[in-house]
């Protein structure tokens, strides 16, 4: 065999992606990195939301678009979107076993995280450009 991997699964199982993905440690590590980043960013985001409660649209746009706030919100959104993609993937592979349902859920997860994450970043960039 040209490419030999140590596995307890038989070849057809590996071919159908029922075997190990071999990237578990990296996924675990990325989940830890984004959670460490998430602690100060979440605190900062809550503070930003509190500061903007009941403010007018003009003020909110100006604050969200100011460099420091915009950068914090973008970092928050990006790290959370990646964190929740990994987290939901973990839930899906734990509970969803039907091959069609599993892949629909995994694809849906990726699309949802990409859409809410990128849409949020786009919104902040648009506000930043306006200032």
């Amino acid at each position: 065999m040209a490419h030999e991997t140590k596995t307890v699964h038989n070849p057809p199982a590996a071919a159908r992606y029922y075997g190990s993905a071999h990237t578990g440690t990296q996924t675990f590590w990325h989940q830890r990195i984004t959670s460490v980043a998430g602690v100060p960013l979440t605190i900062a985001f809550i503070a930003i939301v509190i500061a903007l409660l009941g403010r007018s649209h003009a003020t909110t746009g100006q604050v969200l678009g100011s460099p420091l706030v915009a950068i914090v919100v973008i970092l928050f959104v990006a790290s959370i979107a990646y964190h929740m993609w990994i987290g939901m993937q973990e839930i899906i592979v734990d509970y969803v076993h039907g091959p069609v349902a599993k892949y629909l859920a995994l694809f849906g997860n990726m699309f949802f995280c990409s859409v809410v994450g990128l849409a949020s970043i786009y919104a902040v960039l648009k506000l930043s450009n306006g200032v």
């Binding site: 409660l53 009941g54 746009g61 939901m88 809410v116 919104a123």
Partner: protein, 134 residues
């Protein structure tokens, strides 16, 4: 023939949630996953707010109206608690990752601190919110 039928039978599954005794660490593990699951969909609330701010005054008025209603505030209160609880639970997990805090008493103490802390911090955040809101 009998063999063919056997092979089509449902494979046995490992025991799942329902057979285990409900302990505090077990519940906390569940809370962490459930709050993460809820926050996942709740992220759309943040995306909606940011997009509305970027879209213009009328879109922003809509989002402000919804978050001002009783249902809207209830959703935000639940979202705040889930966010605080998941954050504290995450800090607890990071602490555990260093190999500390895994003794019998410590696990229960950390669990209680996470629940109590999440409720207290949520109330503090909302009190500050109501005090500074214009």
């Amino acid at each position: 023939m009998a063999e063919a039928n056997l092979s089509r039978r449902e494979r046995p599954l490992s025991p799942h949630i329902q057979i285990y005794k409900w302990t505090l660490p077990f519940l906390m593990s569940g809370f962490h996953r459930v709050t993460g699951f809820v926050l996942y969909f709740g992220f759309a609330l943040i995306a909606w707010w940011l997009l509305a701010a970027a879209s213009g005054p009328s879109a922003y008025a809509n989002v402000q109206w919804f978050y001002g209603t009783f249902i809207g505030r209830l959703v935000l209160l639940g979202y705040t608690w889930a966010l605080v609880h998941h954050t504290l639970g995450g800090i607890r997990h990071l602490f555990w990752d260093t190999g500390r805090g895994l003794g019998d008493g410590e696990i229960d103490w950390l669990a209680r601190a996470t629940i109590g802390g999440s409720i207290v911090l949520t109330l503090i955040v909302w009190t500050i919110g109501y005090l500074v809101m214009r």
